[in-house]
Amino acid sequence: MPAHLLPIMVESSWYFVTTQQVREVLGAQPWLPIPRARAELPGVIVWRGRAVPLVDIARVLGIGNGAGAQRARTLIVNHEQGVAALSIDAAREVKSVPEARLLPMHDEIIPYATHELDEDGVVTPVIDLERLISDLHRVAGASEDGSNVGRAR
């Protein structure tokens, strides 16, 4: 069975994400910073009449150069808890490769990179978006446990 991968560029490096979760690739979107927000979730954009959290994926991957979350492309992705927007520099045409060609990553140098694809010696990591976004939710939930546990709903 083939795996469908979208190549995305963040800070001059290429990564793959599986297309299963990708809804749309947009240009740069106007976003609003949230006061006191986590650096990984600096703000919000509007997509199809919804407020969608913006993920600074460069910072999550540990490669942010402090340029901020505004980039040339915005990747809209589905995840278990809803929709998120990822700020990226570029995207290319989707690649379909046999799943067997995706090899487990040797180490955990790149966060959330679970597999890699070797194309003529050029190795590109595959980012597990579902786990990445779940972790952001989990961390946000953990901080809520600490600060908002008494909230009456």
């Binding site: 949230i34 006061p35 509007v46 009449g49 407020a51 808890q81 939710h137 908002n148």
Partner: protein, 137 residues
């Protein structure tokens, strides 16, 4: 163009975008100078741009359970009325930690956030600090 008969919502806005805060106008009972309000004040000024030194703080008095609480803000205040379709709920992932409930986005452009007044009822974990009147001049 606005749809006919579309519901509208009005907010009191403190500050200027992008560092502005909107508060549902129907919850605001009065607006008074900060020094004139003797009740509990929650200090929202850290969320707003610095006001000119000669621009005094104001308090937006809103009801909290059985009592009233003052939301201390700085800078100019104005009213803003928007179509309900421009008022978008913020995902809990973002809104709950920040104490914000909605995003105002006329024509799909994010403009400012709305304060989550439901959080006022929290006593021990209210997201905004209580303003210590005795230490300020």
């Amino acid at each position: 163009m606005k749809k006919k008969d579309e519901a509208e919502l009005t907010f009191v806005v403190a500050g200027a975008p992008p560092q502005a805060l909107a508060i549902a106008a129907d919850r605001v009972r009065s607006i008074v100078p900060a020094v004139a309000f003797a009740g509990t004040q929650l200090d929202l000024r850290p969320l707003l741009p610095a006001a000119p030194p000669d621009d005094g703080a104001h308090v937006l008095v809103v009801r909290r359970d059985s009592s009233e609480v003052g939301l201390c803000v700085s800078g100019n205040l104005r009213m803003l009325t928007l179509a309900a379709s421009s008022v978008l709920a913020i995902p809990g992932l973002l809104g709950e930690p920040s104490g914000l409930s909605h995003l105002l986005a006329p024509q799909g452009v994010p403009l400012m956030f709305v304060l989550d007044l439901a959080r006022l009822d929290e006593t021990t974990h209210c997201p905004w600090p209580t303003r210590a009147l005795a230490t300020e001049t």
